[in-house]
C-alpha cells in the first residue's frame, strides 16, 4: 500500500511515524484537560473539539472524545471504529474541501503532554517468543530443559499487575525486593541489582466477551497495539518465581507507548505465524495471517551520554502465538474479557545475538556484558539510563510508526525513605 497524501505536509514525509495511513489514537493535554487526539505528522488532531463543534459525528454517544481515555469509543464497536477512521481519512486527505474547518483543532505534538491512552482493566503478559523462552530457559534451567514441554502446545502467560502500567515518559524507580545470592544461605532485602527491560508489543482488547471465543472472534475484539516494556527485576524473579510465577519482579512498572496503532492501520502488514513444530489443537487454529511485520529496536542512553546506543533490532514476526491465539486461549476457562484489557506479546527475541529483547539475554545473565558506543559496558540497567523502544511497519514510501516507549530509571529509595 502506498502513502495516502494529506494536506498536512509533515504527514507526507517518508520519515514520519504518523502519515495519514496510520492515524493512531492517544490522549493529550495542552494546558487544559486531557482528551482524545489523533496523531498526524507532527500534529495532534483534537477530535473532542471536532466533535463538540459538530464537525465529526462518530456515533450514538456524544462527548465520547472528551474523556481522558478511548474506552468509551471502544465500546461503540468495530463498525463505528471503521466509520470514524474513514471519516478522519477524508478530512485529512489532500484536497479536502473542509480543511479550514479542521485546521483550528490541530496542535503541535511538541507542545502537548501525552497521557495513558486508555483506562486499563487487567493486564496479562504472555511468553510467546520461542527464542526468548529458549534463552531464558537455558540460563535458568540448562539447555536440556530450556523450552518447557508445554511451550509448543499452549500460549504460556501470567496475570500481571494492571496498576503498575504507565505511559511512556514516566520515570521508573528501581525497586527494592527480596533477593538471594546463590552462594548465600539467606535472602536479603535490597534494591534490585539486575533490573531489566522486556521488549514487547501490547494488544488492547476493545470488545468484551463472557465465554470462550474463537481465534477469528478474538481478532475482531482487538482495538489496537502499542509498544510495551515490561520492566523486570531478574534477581527478585529468580528467588520468588517458583512455584507460582513472577510477582514482585514484574510489579514495578510496565511502560506503554502513548499512541494506539489501530488494527486497520496494520492490516497491510499481516504475515503468517512461524511454521509449527507440533500441530496445535484446533481451538488455536488461525484462519489466516495474524502476525505483523513490525521492526523493533531497543536503545539505551546513560545519563551523561550524548547519544543512545541501539542494543537490539528484532521483529514482531519472531512471536510463535499471535494475539488472537493468545486471547482465544485466555478465554477457554470462562473468565470474561473486558474493554481495556491489555495483553503483552511476551519478550520478542530473534535467533541472532543482536536480536534479543532483554538485557538478560543480550548480556547472557551478566556473563557477556554489552559494550555501548560511549565505551561503557552494561549487564543490566544502571541508575540514570534511559531505555527506548521503537517500532515501525515499513510501507511503500511511508511507514506506520508506533513512536517511542521511553523510560528513565531513577535510583531506588534510600533506606531512610522506606517505611520500615
Amino acid at each position: 500500500m502506498s502513502l495516502i497524501a494529506s494536506w498536512i505536509d509533515t504527514a507526507n514525509s517518508s520519515e514520519t511515524a504518523f502519515p495519514l495511513n496510520n492515524l493512531p489514537y492517544g490522549v493529550f493535554s495542552v494546558g487544559g484537560a486531557a482528551r482524545c487526539g489523533v496523531a498526524i505528522g507532527d500534529l495532534i488532531l483534537d477530535v473532542s473539539g471536532l466533535e463538540e463543534a459538530g464537525i465529526l459525528q462518530p456515533g450514538p454517544r456524544p462527548g465520547v472524545f472528551s474523556a481522558p481515555s478511548w474506552n468509551g469509543f471502544m465500546r461503540l464497536g468495530p463498525t463505528v471504529w471503521s466509520g470514524f477512521r474513514a471519516g478522519l481519512t477524508e478530512f485529512l486527505r489532500e484536497g479536502c474541501a473542509r480543511r479550514a474547518e479542521v485546521e483550528p483543532y490541530l496542535f503541535p505534538m511538541a507542545e502537548a503532554r501525552l497521557h495513558m491512552p486508555f483506562r486499563i482493566a487487567e493486564y496479562t503478559d504472555f511468553y510467546a517468543s520461542r527464542q526468548h523462552a529458549t534463552n531464558v530457559g537455558t540460563m535458568f534451567r540448562g539447555p536440556e530443559n530450556a523450552l518447557p514441554p508445554n511451550w509448543l502446545h499452549i500460549p504460556i502467560a501470567y496475570n500481571g499487575r494492571a496498576s503498575s502500567v504507565v505511559v511512556s515518559g514516566t520515570e521508573i524507580r528501581r525497586p527494592w525486593g527480596q533477593v538471594k545470592a546463590p552462594d548465600k544461605p539467606l535472602p536479603r532485602f535490597r534494591p534490585s541489582g539486575r533490573f531489566d527491560i522486556e521488549l514487547e508489543i501490547g494488544a488492547i482488547v476493545g470488545q468484551p466477551s463472557t465465554g470462550p471465543v474463537s481465534v477469528t472472534r478474538a481478532d475482531g475484539m482487538i482495538f489496537g497495539y502499542v509498544l510495551l516494556n515490561d520492566w523486570s527485576a531478574r534477581d527478585i524473579q529468580a528467588w520468588e518465581y517458583q512455584p507460582l510465577g513472577p510477582f514482585q519482579a514484574k510489579a514495578t512498572a510496565t511502560s506503554i507507548s502513548p499512541w494506539i496503532v489501530t488494527k486497520a492501520a496494520l492490516e497491510p502488514f499481516r504475515i503468517p505465524s512461524p511454521e509449527r513444530e507440533r500441530d496445535l489443537l484446533p481451538y488455536l487454529h488461525e484462519p489466516g495471517p495474524m502476525l505483523y511485520d513490525i521492526s523493533l529496536t531497543v536503545s539505551i542512553q546513560p545519563e551523561l551520554a550524548a547519544l543512545p546506543t541501539v542494543i537490539a533490532r528484532t521483529n514482531y514476526r519472531e512471536i510463535y502465538y499471535s494475539f488472537p491465539q493468545q486471547l482465544a486461549h485466555h478465554t477457554t476457562a470462562g473468565a470474561p474479557m473486558n474493554i481495556g484489557d491489555l495483553l503483552g506479546s511476551g519478550t520478542i527475541s530473534g535467533p541472532a545475538k543482536s536480536e534479543r529483547g532483554s538485557l538478560l539475554e543480550l548480556g547472557w545473565g551478566g556473563k557477556e556484558p554489552l559494550r555501548l558506543d560511549t565505551g561503557e559496558s552494561r549487564s543490566f540497567i544502571e541508575d540514570g539510563d534511559t531505555l527506548t523502544l521503537s517500532g515501525t511497519a515499513e510501507g511503500v514510501g511511508h511507514r506506520i510508526g508506533f513512536g517511542e516507549c521511553v523510560g528513565k530509571v531513577i535510583p531506588a529509595l534510600e533506606p531512610d525513605q522506606l517505611p520500615y
Copy 2:
C-alpha cells in the same frame, strides 16, 4: 467480648451469624436497584434509605450508599468507617429511642438478592498455609522438595483474574482446557476432570497506596474480610503452571461470600501468627497479633442428596503470613494498591487430614477418595455438586459469622456449544 443486645430479637440469638457485634456490609436488592445494606439478625438494614431520609450522616459524600458497591464508602477512610459503625451500633442497640425511625428500613434477608459487595480492582492470591504448600508440593514434586526454599522467607503469591470473581450463589460452569495425561505424548482439549475448590479468606483493600508500606500501615488499609473459594482445575494447572504459574486453571471463577466482615468486628479475635522457623526480614515484622481465630468448614452436597456432608474443618490461624504481611510484601516493588483490591489468603489447611482446604489434598490427588454421608465417593467435584464454605469467630454467647460462600458446579459446555 460479650453480646451487644439489640432491639432486633433475631440478632440476639447465640446461633445468628449477624449479631450487633458483627454488622457486616453487603449490597442487596428487593425488586428495585441494588444498594448498600448491613446484616443484622435475619434482616438487612437499608443504609441508603436511612441516609436519604437524613437519619444517618456518614460523611462528606451524600449518596454514597445508593451505589451498588461499598467502594465509595471505603474511600472516606478509617475515621469515617469507625464513626459510621459506632452510629449504627447505637441505632440498633437495645433501648434505642430512635427505633421507630429505623424500623421502616429493615428488610427480611430471605427476600433479598445479594450482589457483589464491592467493585473489584485487582485480585491477588497468596499461598500462605504451610500445610497446604507442603501437601501440594509433596504431590507435585515429592516430599523432599515439598516446601520451596523461598517459602519460609517470602509470602508467595500470583496475580489472579479479577473479572472472574463472582458472588456466592453464582453457578460455576466446569471449564474446558488443555490437559495432558502423564502417560500420553500429546495434550487434549477437554472439560476439566479434576475440578476443585480452595478454602480461603479474602481481604479487601479499602485505602490506596503508591509506594512501599509497612505491615502496620497495611493493616490500616484493610477494610474487611470475606470467605473466598478459588475454584481450581487441577489437570489444567498441572500442564500449564511451569514456568510462569497458574493461569487458566484459576480463570473460571473465584466466589466470595456476600457480607464484608469488618476489621472492627474481628478485633476481639486477633491471634498471633505461628512461630517462625526462620527469622523474617524486618519489612515483614508484625507489631502485634495479625491473624484471627476463625473456624472454617467446607461441605459438599451432590445434586440429589438431601443433606450436605462436611468434608473439612479448619481455622484461619493455620496461615503463616497475615494479610498485613502479604499486603506489605505486595507493595515492595512499587505497584500502587487501589480501593477494591482483593487478596486471597491462600488455601487454608491444618495438619490433620480432616483439616485440608481442597479436594486435591483431602483425596490426595485421587488416591484416597472421600466417602460422603450419602455413600458416594469423591476425588474431585462432580457436576451438580454444591460446595459451601462457612466461617465463624466464636465470642461469648455470640458469634461473628461470615455467612456462607456457595457455588453449584454445572456441566461444561457441550462441544457443539463451543465456538471452534
